[in-house]
């Protein structure tokens, strides 16, 4: 029974998100809890999906904990954290209107890891020599403290040249 216990107990983290890659697409919900969360309060139909899920459309280049699971929302930081002004940028397609949006991934900073809803997707992500598109960096570099807590996904506008 002890053995069963040890094996049954999974730690949410990184690993679950890494697993997403194995199914060949991050659009699938990853964890049991994430699946259960599908019953979330209805979203506006023009901004569809569940922001606590890695597969939510705005998350296409995110790498970290989703603030919507940490006491914040898709666009607001959890209590007691600071939104970093420096960010990396993704271009994600909204399935509701087919438009490509420029998403600013702002890190919320000043507390250590939230730990909930880790998500890593890399559409448009590039290596560290292209920092404005690199999600491997700690973007709290622009905040008062480098301590990384979670990431929001803020719409800056449409990628006009791409729609």
């Amino acid at each position: 029974m002890a053995r069963t216990l040890a094996q049954r107990t999974s730690r949410r983290s990184f690993i679950a998100a890494i697993g997403s890659a194995l199914v060949g697409g991050a659009m699938l919900p990853l964890l049991p809890v994430a699946r259960a969360a599908a019953a979330e309060t209805a979203r506006p139909k023009e901004d569809p999906g569940d922001p606590t899920q890695c597969g939510y459309w705005r998350n296409c280049a995110v790498d970290g904990y989703l603030c919507a699971c940490c006491g914040g929302t898709t666009t607001s930081c959890p209590p007691g954290t600071e939104m970093s002004p420096t960010t990396w940028i993704g271009t994600c397609r909204n399935p509701a209107d087919g438009r490509d949006y420029i998403i600013s991934y702002n890190d919320c900073c000043g507390k250590t890891s939230c730990g909930a809803c880790f998500c890593n997707r890399n559409e448009g992500d590039r290596p560290l020599y292209a920092p404005q598109r690199a999600n491997d960096l700690n973007w709290c570099v622009g905040a008062k403290s480098l301590a990384y807590h979670c990431t929001v996904t803020v719409i800056l506008g449409t990628a006009a040249g791409r729609t």
Partner: protein, 392 residues
Amino acid sequence: MSPGAVRGAAGRIAAALLLLCAAQGVPAELPAESLDRVETLPVPYPPHWFWAHDMAFGHYTDGRMFLLDADGAHVGAQFKGMVNAAFGPAFVESGQRRELYVAETFYERTGRGKRTDVVTVYDKSTLAPLGEIVLPGAKRVNTLPSRYAVALIDGGKQLLVYNFTPATSVTVIDVGQRKVINEVPLPGCAMVYPAGKNGFSSLCGNGSLISFRIDERGQVTGRHVIEPFFDIDADALFEKPALIGGIAYFPTFAGNVQEINLGTEQARLGKKWSLIAGSDPAEHWRPGGIHLTGADAAGRLYVLMHPEGKEGSHKEPGREIWVFDARGRSLLQRVTLREPGLSIELTRDPDPLLLVVNVSMNVDVYRARDGGFLRTLSDFGQDEPLLLHAVR
């Protein structure tokens, strides 16, 4: 054209396109969003919120207090906020001030260099630090999460911090001034249990209990001892009582409960009675766990119990929670847990929730009134949330 005019023209064109799109059934573009939003919390917190103290044993320099809503259907609705709590910290929430207190320890280089102990004062609404009180002497106790390593007394005006070096003492802090005002030596005793109008009691290694009366300047104005009343080898008291109406209910290793009245001017030894008198002796039910006691507003006492108890089993997870009428000293109910539990807590509302940290390090939520299971809180970023605190 001036830049303003350009924006004006662009705006008019966009508005025209929007109308066009709407006319054609094409959805409007989502607007650009603000980049400066940070959440705040309602104070007082709703009664079904609670704090989960995560010691993070594998990374104890980065422990946390998670603020969770037991009513939330999923992690996005459950997770309300977090404060850091480093290195075997102790936590208490003020019932009077809009403040939280975290007694914690830092080193200059994580685990090396100069040590600094502080009480960090947080704002309940913003969860931002309001200030800190430096604790002198590098003596704050470092242990598993405990309800009784710190205590608020005098209506939340004084904060007590238990010290262990291994010499023991209690630091007294004036909360309003954010200042250490005294240190009370403890002769071979441990923990701080609020007692009397304004004071505290501690359990001692010789089986006695000592109590101190404290004035508003933190000075000791009275001292009282209940002579040795228990045997550490034969039937040790757990140092983790439930408090109901001024009376502390200390379970014992052998399955009794020792009442001590801490609500009176001087602490008074109360009755010792059996938790297991009505159960099958062959099953050897015993109290056990990490934090194994709870109480609710109706005066019910909750104790985490395991079968096959023996020497060394006192930290075993409980398979059941036994609910007693504290005043009547009678068993009301045995709640069988879905998954064995390590620590328990009750919310403070009239129809409370029973919160149980289970052996998978998730939190199971039951209705206290009938033991009905409601939900499990998992995957909120926790490692070992070994102690729960209902909000005040």
